[in-house]
């Protein structure tokens, strides 16, 4: 048996071994005793605790005996008339239970009433006020369920009839009933109607602003939010990024964005008609070479999880984009025309 830790030895002294599960699996009390017979260090440690306990107990006991106040106390109390308070358990018990339970119960009751009033009023309000929903795409770069839209998308649809839809771009939403609320929605997100008839927004790029209306409860990524005049904005911007890549020479390259979620990156088509002369460079043999290329610049509405660039035809010199991403440095991969995904974050962002 290895020497137990000091903590285990203390537990042994306290006779807690059987109650300590970790110890119980490791050693038995008998193993401890056997170990203490042979290990001087551990037995000295245990004996020191036992000896200290003994001294403390005996010496305190002796002191106590010499300084006991029993007779003095009894002398004093004999002359004291006892309080006339009745020592009836029943009324005392009643009073104790009354104070023990009445006030906490009252507090719980009041909290429950107030919570009910607070929450029911909000839910009722949204159920009553948000009845008809209208949606309008503000600009031509706006996508509803992946389709480009400009102008009205839908008009005065009962909120509970709405099924989940995806937004990407800039929209104005109108909620009509007893009162009117207008929201400006920018970004990329999925919109649903939850069981309480709250609008529920999910996504990484959500910007909502209450333009008109007093207050509007809604849910953003599962968290309840309340928009009102004081707090009229919700902004969950991911790092809005602008990705650019300098490519030296391109015969033909197409750029596509592929994202796993409903978020769709909007990237303009790139063609190879605009090669530009770039600063010359020296090749492996030291020969001065001209560089031609095109600057790929695409603005992402939201940060996609991956972007794929597919070179469809490569000239003999290959494509060198070493300034930007090592992924594109791999000529063999490009020659095989394989898709080379790269993490947007690993990409070099440029303004």
């Amino acid at each position: 048996m290895k020497c137990p830790t000091k903590e285990k030895l203390i537990l042994y002294v306290e006779a807690l071994i059987s109650e300590d599960e970790s110890l119980g699996n490791e050693y038995s009390a008998k193993e401890f005793e056997n170990h203490l017979k042979t290990c001087k260090t551990c037995s000295a440690f245990v004996n020191s605790i036992v000896e200290d306990d003994k001294i403390l107990k005996e010496d305190t006991g002796k002191l106590f005996e010499r300084h006991s106040q029993a007779s003095a106390i009894m002398e004093k109390v004999r002359g004291i008339p006892l309080s006339k308070e009745s020592h009836s358990t029943l009324p005392h018990e009643f009073v104790r239970l009354f104070f023990k339970w009445f006030f906490p119960s009252l507090a719980i009751f009041l909290i429950a009433i107030m919570s009910f009033m607070l929450f029911s009023s909000k839910e009722d309000k949204i159920r009553k006020t948000v009845t008809l929903v209208s949606l309008r795409a503000v600009d031509s770069d706006s996508y509803f369920n992946g389709e480009p839209f400009q102008g009205p998308v839908f008009d005065k649809v009962e909120i509970n009839e709405l099924s989940a839809f995806g937004l990407n771009g800039k929209f104005r939403m109108t909620l009509e009933s007893d009162s009117l609320s207008e929201l400006d929605i920018v970004g990329s997100m999925t919109v649903k109607v939850d069981t309480n008839s709250f609008l529920s927004f999910e996504g990484r790029d959500i910007n909502i602003e209450l333009i008109t209306g007093r207050e509007l409860p809604l849910s953003v990524n599962g968290a309840s939010k309340l928009l009102n005049k004081e707090h009229n904005k919700i902004e969950l911007n991911p790092e809005r990024s602008q990705v650019s890549a300098d490519i030296r020479k391109i015969d033909d390259i197409s750029v596509d964005a592929n994202v796993k979620t409903s978020t769709k990156a909007v990237i303009p088509t790139i063609d190879n008609t605009l090669p530009e002369k770039l600063p010359s460079y020296k090749n492996d043999t030291g020969e001065e070479k001209e560089k031609f290329g095109a600057k790929l610049k695409f603005r992402l509405r939201s940060l996609p999880e991956a972007i794929y660039i597919k070179p469809e035809e490569i000239n003999s010199e290959g494509v060198d984009v070493s300034n930007d991403s090592s992924y594109h440095n791999d000529n063999s991969a490009l020659k095989e025309e394989s898709y080379e995904p790269f993490d947007g974050k690993a990409f070099k962002y440029k303004d």
Partner: protein
């Protein structure tokens, strides 16, 4: 059934019904508890005696208001603690700043020692060290530890007496022991 065999509540009822002497059984039963509770907290043996007396007298005066569902010992310790705090406030005595109680205790204990002088000295020194280390323990560890060692109470009785859960008592005693060992080892390592 003799008075000694009666429960705390039965004794209290006897006292309240006019049998004042029944209170002596409660004093006998719990005086050492209060004494050891105060021992690691007060600086003077005279103060300890005063607080012990005052606590029992105050408890006696207010016996009619005692809640029979509570443990008498826990109630008594609460009274003792309050009196101790008042007394400290009045006397402006700072608990851990002096060694007064230790000196008094040691002088006092020497009166009846019958051992060899060298042994007496060694033992006194060890007792002093132990008491000093206990004084340095956090407040919440002191009482369970002293009740366990000095009063040899079971964990359950300690839990009942001071009104804390059983597991908490075990943890506090274990922690008190661990801290005491650590402090002791540290002090032993220090040069004189």
């Amino acid at each position: 059934m003799s008075r000694q065999e009666k429960s705390d509540v039965e004794l209290i009822k006897l006292v309240l019904s006019g049998e004042c002497e029944a209170y002596s059984v409660l004093v006998q039963r719990y005086e050492k508890l209060v004494f050891s509770f105060l021992l690691s907290r007060m600086n003077s043996i005279q103060d300890i005696e005063d607080v012990v007396q005052d606590a029992f007298v105050k408890a006696y005066k207010h016996l009619a208001s005692f809640d029979c569902e509570r443990k008498f010992s826990a109630w008594l310790l609460t009274i003792a603690r309050n009196i101790m705090i008042d007394s400290r406030r009045k006397l402006s005595r700072d608990l851990p700043s002096t060694d007064l109680v230790i000196d008094i205790l040691l002088t006092d204990s020497a009166k009846e020692e019958s051992e060899q002088p060298a042994d007496i000295l060694i033992r006194r020194e060890r007792f002093r060290k132990i008491l000093m280390l206990i004084r340095e323990l956090p407040e919440e560890f002191k009482t369970p530890f002293l009740l366990r060692v000095v009063n040899e109470m079971s964990y359950q009785d300690i839990a009942d007496s001071i009104g804390i859960p059983l597991q908490t008592v075990k943890n506090r005693i274990f922690k008190a022991r661990t801290l005491l060992r650590e402090k002791r080892e540290k002090k032993d390592e220090m040069p004189n």
